[in-house]
Symmetry: C2
Subunit: 152 residues, 2 copies
Protein backbone atom coordinates (compact mmCIF):
# COMPACT_ATOMS: atom_id res chain seq x y z
CA UNK A 1 0.00 0.00 0.00
CA UNK A 2 1.68 3.22 -1.13
CA UNK A 3 1.75 6.50 0.71
CA UNK A 4 -1.11 8.11 -1.23
CA UNK A 5 -3.39 5.24 -0.26
CA UNK A 6 -2.33 5.56 3.35
CA UNK A 7 -3.60 9.10 3.24
CA UNK A 8 -6.83 8.01 1.58
CA UNK A 9 -8.84 7.82 4.79
CA UNK A 10 -8.02 11.47 5.40
CA UNK A 11 -8.96 12.22 1.81
CA UNK A 12 -12.40 10.70 2.39
CA UNK A 13 -13.08 11.47 6.04
CA UNK A 14 -12.46 15.19 5.72
CA UNK A 15 -14.85 15.60 2.74
CA UNK A 16 -17.55 13.71 4.65
CA UNK A 17 -17.06 16.05 7.59
CA UNK A 18 -17.22 19.11 5.32
CA UNK A 19 -20.17 17.92 3.23
CA UNK A 20 -22.10 17.09 6.37
CA UNK A 21 -21.67 20.66 7.61
CA UNK A 22 -22.42 22.15 4.19
CA UNK A 23 -25.61 20.10 3.91
CA UNK A 24 -26.81 21.34 7.28
CA UNK A 25 -26.09 24.85 6.03
CA UNK A 26 -28.00 24.21 2.79
CA UNK A 27 -31.05 23.08 4.76
CA UNK A 28 -30.88 26.10 7.05
CA UNK A 29 -32.86 28.70 5.04
CA UNK A 30 -35.78 26.28 4.65
CA UNK A 31 -35.67 25.08 8.26
CA UNK A 32 -35.34 28.64 9.56
CA UNK A 33 -38.76 29.39 8.08
CA UNK A 34 -40.13 26.52 10.16
CA UNK A 35 -38.25 27.60 13.27
CA UNK A 36 -36.33 24.34 13.58
CA UNK A 37 -32.73 23.11 13.26
CA UNK A 38 -31.44 20.18 11.20
CA UNK A 39 -31.27 17.71 14.11
CA UNK A 40 -34.80 18.79 15.10
CA UNK A 41 -35.88 18.18 11.49
CA UNK A 42 -34.52 14.64 11.77
CA UNK A 43 -36.55 14.07 14.94
CA UNK A 44 -39.67 15.36 13.19
CA UNK A 45 -39.11 13.05 10.21
CA UNK A 46 -39.04 10.09 12.57
CA UNK A 47 -42.16 11.29 14.39
CA UNK A 48 -44.10 12.00 11.19
CA UNK A 49 -43.72 8.28 10.42
CA UNK A 50 -44.37 7.09 14.00
CA UNK A 51 -46.70 9.31 15.92
CA UNK A 52 -45.62 8.12 19.34
CA UNK A 53 -42.09 7.04 20.32
CA UNK A 54 -39.93 6.88 23.44
CA UNK A 55 -36.71 8.88 23.65
CA UNK A 56 -34.71 5.69 23.17
CA UNK A 57 -36.65 4.68 20.06
CA UNK A 58 -35.92 8.05 18.47
CA UNK A 59 -32.28 7.64 19.46
CA UNK A 60 -32.08 4.21 17.82
CA UNK A 61 -33.29 5.60 14.52
CA UNK A 62 -31.08 8.70 14.58
CA UNK A 63 -28.08 7.02 16.26
CA UNK A 64 -28.18 9.62 19.02
CA UNK A 65 -27.94 9.09 22.78
CA UNK A 66 -30.19 10.60 25.40
CA UNK A 67 -27.49 13.05 26.48
CA UNK A 68 -27.98 14.67 23.08
CA UNK A 69 -31.70 14.02 22.68
CA UNK A 70 -33.00 15.05 26.10
CA UNK A 71 -31.98 18.73 25.82
CA UNK A 72 -32.93 18.77 22.12
CA UNK A 73 -36.41 17.38 22.85
CA UNK A 74 -36.82 19.81 25.70
CA UNK A 75 -36.20 22.68 23.29
CA UNK A 76 -38.70 21.18 20.85
CA UNK A 77 -41.25 20.91 23.66
CA UNK A 78 -40.69 24.55 24.59
CA UNK A 79 -41.24 25.63 20.98
CA UNK A 80 -44.51 23.70 21.08
CA UNK A 81 -43.94 21.11 18.34
CA UNK A 82 -43.79 18.00 20.54
CA UNK A 83 -45.17 16.80 23.89
CA UNK A 84 -43.29 14.65 26.41
CA UNK A 85 -45.05 12.42 28.93
CA UNK A 86 -43.90 9.63 31.23
CA UNK A 87 -45.17 6.23 30.15
CA UNK A 88 -47.75 4.70 32.49
CA UNK A 89 -46.57 1.15 31.80
CA UNK A 90 -42.96 1.96 32.56
CA UNK A 91 -42.32 5.08 34.59
CA UNK A 92 -38.73 5.22 33.30
CA UNK A 93 -39.79 5.82 29.69
CA UNK A 94 -40.79 9.15 28.23
CA UNK A 95 -43.31 9.11 25.38
CA UNK A 96 -42.68 11.75 22.72
CA UNK A 97 -45.61 12.81 20.54
CA UNK A 98 -46.28 15.49 17.94
CA UNK A 99 -48.49 18.41 18.85
CA UNK A 100 -50.94 19.82 16.29
CA UNK A 101 -48.24 22.36 15.42
CA UNK A 102 -45.71 19.58 14.96
CA UNK A 103 -48.05 17.68 12.64
CA UNK A 104 -48.71 20.82 10.62
CA UNK A 105 -44.99 21.34 10.01
CA UNK A 106 -45.03 18.24 7.79
CA UNK A 107 -46.88 20.33 5.19
CA UNK A 108 -44.19 23.03 5.27
CA UNK A 109 -41.45 20.40 5.08
CA UNK A 110 -42.81 18.58 2.06
CA UNK A 111 -41.03 20.62 -0.66
CA UNK A 112 -37.66 20.58 1.12
CA UNK A 113 -36.23 17.24 -0.10
CA UNK A 114 -36.77 18.15 -3.74
CA UNK A 115 -35.04 21.50 -3.25
CA UNK A 116 -32.03 19.79 -1.72
CA UNK A 117 -31.98 17.17 -4.46
CA UNK A 118 -31.90 19.91 -7.07
CA UNK A 119 -28.77 21.26 -5.43
CA UNK A 120 -27.09 17.85 -5.09
CA UNK A 121 -27.94 16.28 -8.46
CA UNK A 122 -26.74 18.01 -11.63
CA UNK A 123 -24.99 17.34 -14.92
CA UNK A 124 -21.91 16.03 -13.10
CA UNK A 125 -23.57 14.04 -10.34
CA UNK A 126 -26.16 11.60 -11.60
CA UNK A 127 -29.06 10.20 -9.64
CA UNK A 128 -27.76 6.63 -9.80
CA UNK A 129 -24.45 7.76 -8.36
CA UNK A 130 -26.32 9.23 -5.42
CA UNK A 131 -28.14 5.94 -4.95
CA UNK A 132 -24.81 4.12 -4.97
CA UNK A 133 -23.41 6.57 -2.44
CA UNK A 134 -26.42 6.05 -0.20
CA UNK A 135 -25.86 2.27 -0.15
CA UNK A 136 -22.19 2.70 0.61
CA UNK A 137 -22.83 5.14 3.45
CA UNK A 138 -25.37 2.78 4.96
CA UNK A 139 -22.77 0.02 4.89
CA UNK A 140 -20.35 2.33 6.64
CA UNK A 141 -22.96 3.10 9.28
CA UNK A 142 -23.17 -0.64 9.98
CA UNK A 143 -19.41 -1.10 10.07
CA UNK A 144 -18.76 1.99 12.16
CA UNK A 145 -21.61 1.28 14.58
CA UNK A 146 -20.25 -2.23 15.10
CA UNK A 147 -16.74 -0.83 15.54
CA UNK A 148 -18.11 1.66 18.06
CA UNK A 149 -19.85 -1.07 20.06
CA UNK A 150 -16.62 -3.09 20.14
CA UNK A 151 -14.58 -0.11 21.32
CA UNK A 152 -16.95 0.73 24.20
Amino acid sequence: MDDSQLQLSNQVCFPIYSVSRLITKAYKPYLDEMGITYPQYLVLMVLWENNSLTVNQIGEQLLLNTNTLSPLLKRMEISGIIARNRSENDERSVIVQLTEKGKQLKVNAKPIPEKLLKILVNENIKLNEVLQLKDMLNQWIEILTENDNKTQ
Copy 2:
Protein backbone atom coordinates in the same frame (compact mmCIF):
# COMPACT_ATOMS: atom_id res chain seq x y z
CA MET B 1 -40.14 12.06 -10.06
CA ASP B 2 -41.88 9.66 -7.68
CA ASP B 3 -42.26 10.01 -3.97
CA SER B 4 -39.35 7.73 -3.06
CA GLN B 5 -37.00 9.90 -5.10
CA LEU B 6 -38.34 13.01 -3.43
CA GLN B 7 -37.24 11.50 -0.15
CA LEU B 8 -33.84 10.62 -1.59
CA SER B 9 -32.07 13.71 -0.30
CA ASN B 10 -33.13 12.71 3.21
CA GLN B 11 -31.92 9.19 2.50
CA VAL B 12 -28.48 10.52 1.61
CA CYS B 13 -28.13 13.56 3.86
CA PHE B 14 -28.92 11.69 7.06
CA PRO B 15 -26.33 8.93 6.40
CA ILE B 16 -23.69 11.58 5.68
CA TYR B 17 -24.53 13.27 8.97
CA SER B 18 -24.35 9.95 10.83
CA VAL B 19 -21.20 8.68 9.13
CA SER B 20 -19.48 11.99 9.82
CA ARG B 21 -20.18 11.61 13.53
CA LEU B 22 -19.24 7.92 13.55
CA ILE B 23 -15.93 8.66 11.82
CA THR B 24 -15.06 11.30 14.41
CA LYS B 25 -15.87 8.68 17.03
CA ALA B 26 -13.68 6.10 15.28
CA TYR B 27 -10.73 8.51 15.30
CA LYS B 28 -11.24 9.34 18.96
CA PRO B 29 -9.27 6.53 20.66
CA TYR B 30 -6.18 7.33 18.54
CA LEU B 31 -6.51 11.10 18.91
CA ASP B 32 -7.14 10.81 22.66
CA GLU B 33 -3.66 9.31 23.01
CA MET B 34 -2.29 12.45 21.35
CA GLY B 35 -4.48 14.74 23.46
CA ILE B 36 -6.23 16.28 20.46
CA THR B 37 -9.71 16.30 18.93
CA TYR B 38 -10.70 15.57 15.33
CA PRO B 39 -10.97 19.24 14.25
CA GLN B 40 -7.60 19.87 15.90
CA TYR B 41 -6.19 16.89 13.97
CA LEU B 42 -7.40 18.53 10.76
CA VAL B 43 -5.59 21.75 11.68
CA LEU B 44 -2.42 19.78 12.38
CA MET B 45 -2.63 17.99 9.03
CA VAL B 46 -2.73 21.35 7.30
CA LEU B 47 0.18 22.66 9.35
CA TRP B 48 2.31 19.55 8.85
CA GLU B 49 2.17 20.37 5.13
CA ASN B 50 2.62 24.15 5.54
CA ASN B 51 4.68 25.07 8.52
CA SER B 52 3.39 28.62 8.75
CA LEU B 53 -0.12 29.78 7.91
CA THR B 54 -2.51 32.57 8.85
CA VAL B 55 -5.83 31.80 10.52
CA ASN B 56 -7.62 32.57 7.26
CA GLN B 57 -5.40 30.25 5.23
CA ILE B 58 -6.19 27.39 7.59
CA GLY B 59 -9.86 28.29 7.34
CA GLU B 60 -9.76 28.20 3.55
CA GLN B 61 -8.39 24.68 3.55
CA LEU B 62 -10.74 23.36 6.22
CA LEU B 63 -13.77 25.43 5.17
CA LEU B 64 -14.03 26.88 8.65
CA ASN B 65 -14.52 30.50 9.69
CA THR B 66 -12.56 32.38 12.30
CA ASN B 67 -15.44 32.23 14.76
CA THR B 68 -14.78 28.49 14.88
CA LEU B 69 -11.01 28.57 14.40
CA SER B 70 -10.04 31.32 16.84
CA PRO B 71 -11.20 29.53 19.99
CA LEU B 72 -9.99 26.18 18.61
CA LEU B 73 -6.50 27.57 17.90
CA LYS B 74 -6.45 29.19 21.32
CA ARG B 75 -7.02 25.78 22.89
CA MET B 76 -4.26 24.30 20.73
CA GLU B 77 -1.93 27.09 21.82
CA ILE B 78 -2.75 26.42 25.48
CA SER B 79 -1.98 22.72 25.03
CA GLY B 80 1.36 23.76 23.56
CA ILE B 81 1.16 22.29 20.05
CA ILE B 82 1.01 25.57 18.10
CA ALA B 83 2.18 29.17 18.48
CA ARG B 84 0.24 32.27 17.40
CA ASN B 85 1.93 35.55 16.52
CA ARG B 86 0.77 38.73 14.81
CA SER B 87 2.28 39.19 11.38
CA GLU B 88 4.75 42.07 11.13
CA ASN B 89 3.81 42.84 7.53
CA ASP B 90 0.11 43.02 8.29
CA GLU B 91 -0.85 43.57 11.90
CA ARG B 92 -4.31 42.19 11.20
CA SER B 93 -3.04 38.71 10.41
CA VAL B 94 -2.10 36.05 12.92
CA ILE B 95 0.61 33.58 11.93
CA VAL B 96 0.03 30.06 13.21
CA GLN B 97 3.06 27.79 13.51
CA LEU B 98 3.79 24.36 14.94
CA THR B 99 5.79 24.11 18.16
CA GLU B 100 8.32 21.31 18.59
CA LYS B 101 5.58 19.35 20.33
CA GLY B 102 3.24 19.95 17.41
CA LYS B 103 5.84 18.74 14.93
CA GLN B 104 6.48 15.64 17.01
CA LEU B 105 2.81 14.68 16.95
CA LYS B 106 3.20 13.93 13.24
CA VAL B 107 5.12 10.80 14.20
CA ASN B 108 2.32 9.64 16.49
CA ALA B 109 -0.27 10.41 13.83
CA LYS B 110 1.41 8.49 11.02
CA PRO B 111 -0.25 5.08 11.64
CA ILE B 112 -3.76 6.55 12.07
CA PRO B 113 -4.90 6.75 8.41
CA GLU B 114 -4.12 3.08 7.81
CA LYS B 115 -6.06 2.07 10.92
CA LEU B 116 -9.10 4.02 9.74
CA LEU B 117 -8.79 2.61 6.24
CA LYS B 118 -8.80 -0.91 7.66
CA ILE B 119 -12.12 -0.14 9.30
CA LEU B 120 -13.65 1.50 6.22
CA VAL B 121 -12.44 -0.87 3.49
CA ASN B 122 -13.47 -4.52 3.67
CA GLU B 123 -14.90 -7.33 1.60
CA ASN B 124 -18.06 -5.30 0.87
CA ILE B 125 -16.52 -1.87 0.33
CA LYS B 126 -13.73 -1.88 -2.21
CA LEU B 127 -10.93 0.62 -2.45
CA ASN B 128 -12.01 1.89 -5.87
CA GLU B 129 -15.49 2.57 -4.51
CA VAL B 130 -13.94 4.72 -1.81
CA LEU B 131 -11.99 6.61 -4.48
CA GLN B 132 -15.21 7.17 -6.40
CA LEU B 133 -16.92 8.39 -3.25
CA LYS B 134 -14.07 10.80 -2.58
CA ASP B 135 -14.46 12.36 -6.03
CA MET B 136 -18.19 12.70 -5.62
CA LEU B 137 -17.91 14.29 -2.19
CA ASN B 138 -15.37 16.78 -3.53
CA GLN B 139 -17.82 17.72 -6.27
CA TRP B 140 -20.48 18.23 -3.64
CA ILE B 141 -18.15 20.44 -1.66
CA GLU B 142 -17.79 22.63 -4.76
CA ILE B 143 -21.52 22.73 -5.43
CA LEU B 144 -22.49 23.33 -1.81
CA THR B 145 -19.82 25.96 -1.26
CA GLU B 146 -21.03 27.81 -4.33
CA ASN B 147 -24.62 27.45 -3.16
CA ASP B 148 -23.59 28.78 0.24
CA ASN B 149 -21.88 31.81 -1.28
CA LYS B 150 -24.99 32.54 -3.35
CA THR B 151 -27.26 32.31 -0.33
CA GLN B 152 -25.17 34.67 1.78
